[in-house]
Subunit: 342 residues, 4 copies
């Protein structure tokens, strides 16, 4: 059985994560080349994992006829263009989220992928998290009956710099984008309208840069269910990632993962572990599982579990949230779609 | 030390609860008379607890010079008028929530109470719940730093009849009224504006009667914090009552109370108890504590812990929520107050 | 329906507990008299609860023809004699544990009770604890299959004085006596043999007084199951009361009760409540339930749920444990019984 | 920096586990050869992980001058002889537990290792488990004060065949051996004496083969603390692995690991995950950590964290437990040591 040959574009944090997943956990795939505009990084990663080639030019991967699939792990503003190049070269594509901050670019990438007939999977890794995935499975199984309410808590352990916040597209586009995807994944239905309330409570500089750091967003889904997401850029106790699906027959909810199950009981109280610190700790298992799913989809010729349409929808919701917050009213998804001719 | 003498108006479910609290747990008070328009009920309660007198006319309590305080446990639409009568007769008053469904009547009751200079406490018993009260104490202690987010989940085990729903003032006025009070209690700040999203997911008949049975409401507080309340009229697993306060230094959250701590582990999984069934089970302790607080406030001449102003505020929020849902936009509390000349 | 008339002998801590249970929670019974050698105590309790008579002589209760049942709440060394007097006077008897520290005296009391044909219930209140009772019910239901192992953890929050320890009959007789009863209750089988290991780890003075403060005891039951009890006189975090029944189909286990379900998450960890402090907090509900059961048994003429034989058995186990520890070997219950002609 | 070169003797389940740990997680080491008497197994493992050589003769590893360290993963009855061969050849040794079922053979292996001056580490992997390791750290830190009681629950999900049980050395030698090591690890002290009570409750055939399937063992440690271990060969709900250290200032205890944190609440109750199924699931992380520790110890020339003396001690305790059960009395460790001239 031939291994799927892969090239990785981008040797930053997430490029390293995927390279390790493939090397250590996916014998059905092999990495032929790593590229990064910083060739020192590309070389270091290649040598660390025994990858045969590296380059400072991603076109060396795009143009390599031995490579069947590429992982787009470069900065966000290059995702769409590289996706288009890769699709045109007939490569299967795994692209980190978001594909782009604009609807228009995502639609261009989508068109290229569809024209080329290649597989494209988007890096919404949280769908593969052991906890959230089980909540989804229970909801899908019918054990909860009709879904009535989806709740997501998603809080980072520490805020980014104000510069990052400003350039990232803002909290809705950079952080809540994951939760918009998760909400639809859990509800089993697309969102119909959005109401967003945001605030600057963590860091004034983030506010001065035009962004918010705390938000509560209410969703209504096409299937009638309600949803609510809360985000904060700073949870003193660590990365807080909890979901809850409530339906006519009951509720499935998960708790944070911790490093240990140890409880210490003293005269001062009973102390247990904080949640795992951040996404590399908490979601490491999900990165491996999403990559296995991508490799399997390409090799088996089956649909990717997270498609380019799944990339588009959360961006539309983020735009709706921005508009809602600005205007103090509920915004229909249709409104955003019509404005952008989706 | 002389006992506080009490008359109870209304021998229904909550009248019985308060009568038991005083008889069994509050030696500093004694009940002299019970009244109910249904004299059978009044007599039954009086005999059960050894209360010397009963009547089918609440004026027998109002006009009894030996009675210092009255508990208004009659139907909601009589609360305000009886409060005014009692205040005019110089009685201290414990009144079940809501004092009235209209702002105007509450203001009249407030005026009568202030003119008479009597103590008035409102039956927002959940403030005295062991779990929620501790969350509030931790938040007030500063251990969480500045409060940034308050979350409340409040779900009933089974929906009321559509008739009840229609006559009750609706979900915001009848059910979420408790949560509006709790939200401000936990945030330590009044609400500034409200966004409400409701749905009919549990019982179509409730929708046909003009009400909703599921809702998510977003709050912004004067102190800048955000809040979110979710309500459902039907949780298959029982009464779901959880609160969470999140701040710059951490989070305090409670879980539901259960009858036992037993866990049963078998090949099918690990099973633990459902939440206690409904408010009489879950909040019984809080009813005793609120009554002790009322008796103490009257005897010591100290302010009641839940005042007539605390009765007004959640009604304003309920009206704001109704308006918000109707108009699909955020509604400022000030808007409602100006309309009603508060 | 006539109320059961009760006299309480002993107005100490446990006498007060039972007097409150009856007054506040058991309308089917009424207390006619309280006695205590310290008449000040008797009078104070009588006045506090509106009990009509008090005395400094328990014979005033024994000889009172209006009293149908007596509660023996006096010091342990008087239990057997008062029980015999009460039985001879035809009273039904609720006697605090232990009935006596010697087998011989318990047998005398048993003979008197049986001769008089009165109901006698022993104060092993923990059988009525909401958690332990549910574990027992699950085990009895067959949901765990054949019981294979029973584990009990029982630790006090603070050690008694060395004087108390010495005069109490020692840890096995004074403290583990409850756990011996609980073990048989949970296993649904009498104990066959005992191995005991003890140590002085908490307070040297307890050792100097001839007692131990920490112990692990292994049991084998007649039905083949194994058991283990651990006791400590000092748990820094409070009263630790947990049981576990393990069988062929699974396990039922309980956790300690806490005052609240609140968890506080900060940079320092996640902190929850300690167990409730001691037996008056943790087991208050069980005291009410055992008294209800006694009143019901007498009024209905049904067998008491905890009989005089249940008083005897744990004393035999305590004697076996003492012997085992002294001799470093397993001791058969039969050995103790034969020595004492049971 | 040169990698540590390794040969693995035995390509069964645990040989595969260690081979994967080194290949995927320990860049400081490389595997040069695998041997197994079944060369098909050796070849399969070598090819799967890209290991250059394989053999059906472990002497090809022992005699390979390029190999610095060997992992002894062959059947138990070969451990001691291979260890001696490897030591004589100057190899560092990682040997699975138990080194042997007899004290004499372990002493021979120990002598060879000491004479050769090589590093030897024993495969008591549970010391490296994230939960148990943290309990130990807390106990060692002094946060619990003087240790007074150590409790270990260790239950397998399903019993082995009676044949296996008989040939394995029996429950104390095959299963509780891990818990004897863990007990001393947690107590921070060697055991002084042992009392063992066993039973055949799970499978009569195990009894007929001369073994037991359920046991409770009481320990006293040299430092005065008490200990208790319970073992069962069959827990219907999965692998049950919990430890508890209780001391003068409090308690540290762990719970089982589960696959997810999800709780499902319905009208039937609240259901959460069972413990992970067996040791390959639960202790996988510990296998990686013990191997990292071995590689580090050899490369740094520091003492191994689990030495050949740690192999000897649990075997002595297992022999003491056997003797105790046979004779119904407490057996001193010294008794066993003197008999075997240790």
């Amino acid at each position: 059985m031939k291994r799927l040959t892969i090239g990785i574009i981008g040797a930053g944090r997430i490029g390293n994560v995927h390279a390790e997943s493939i090397t250590y956990h996916i014998p059905e795939a092999e990495i032929l080349m790593i590229s990064d505009v910083d060739s020192v990084k590309a070389k270091a990663l290649a040598e660390r994992l025994g990858i045969p080639k590296w380059s400072d030019n991603h076109l060396d991967i795009i143009n390599n006829p031995d490579i069947e699939a590429v992982l787009v792990c470069s900065p966000t503003n290059t995702h769409a263009d590289i996706t288009i190049e890769a699709a045109n070269a007939g490569k299967h594509i795994f692209c980190e989220k978001p594909v782009d901050l604009t609807i228009e670019k995502i639609l261009q990438a989508k068109a290229a992928v569809e024209k080329a007939g290649v597989t494209m999977q988007i890096g919404f890794n949280r769908r593969f998290d052991h906890n959230h995935e089980k909540v989804r499975e229970i909801a899908q199984s019918g054990a909860l009956g009709k879904v009535e309410l989806v709740k997501i808590t998603s809080r980072d352990p520490a805020p980014p710099s104000a510069e990052y916040a400003a350039s990232s597209g803002g909290l809705f586009m950079d952080m809540m984008i994951h939760d918009f995807d998760m909400a639809q994944f859990l509800a089993g239905s697309p969102v119909k309208d959005v109401y967003a309330q945001g605030a600057v409570l963590v860091d004034k500089a983030i506010g001065e840069a035009g962004d918010i750091d705390t938000a509560v967003v209410t969703l209504t889904f096409e299937n009638g269910a309600l949803g609510v997401i809360d985000n904060s850029r700073r949870a003193a106790y660590g990365y807080d990632q909890r979901v809850e699906v409530f339906g006519e027959k009951g509720m499935a909810a998960d708790e944070n993962d911790c490093d240990t199950t140890v409880r210490v009981s003293t005269a001062q109280g009973v102390v247990s572990d904080k949640p795992q610190y951040f996404f590399l700790e908490r979601y490491m298992g999900s990165f491996v599982k999403e990559m296995k799913a991508f490799v399997a989809a390409v090799r088996d010729g089956t649909p990717a579990p997270v498609t380019v349409d799944d990339a588009l929808s959360p961006v539309i919701l983020a735009l709706a949230a921005k508009k809602s917050m600005a205007e103090g009213r509920k915004v229909a998804v249709r409104e955003i779609m019509e404005t952008h001719h989706v």
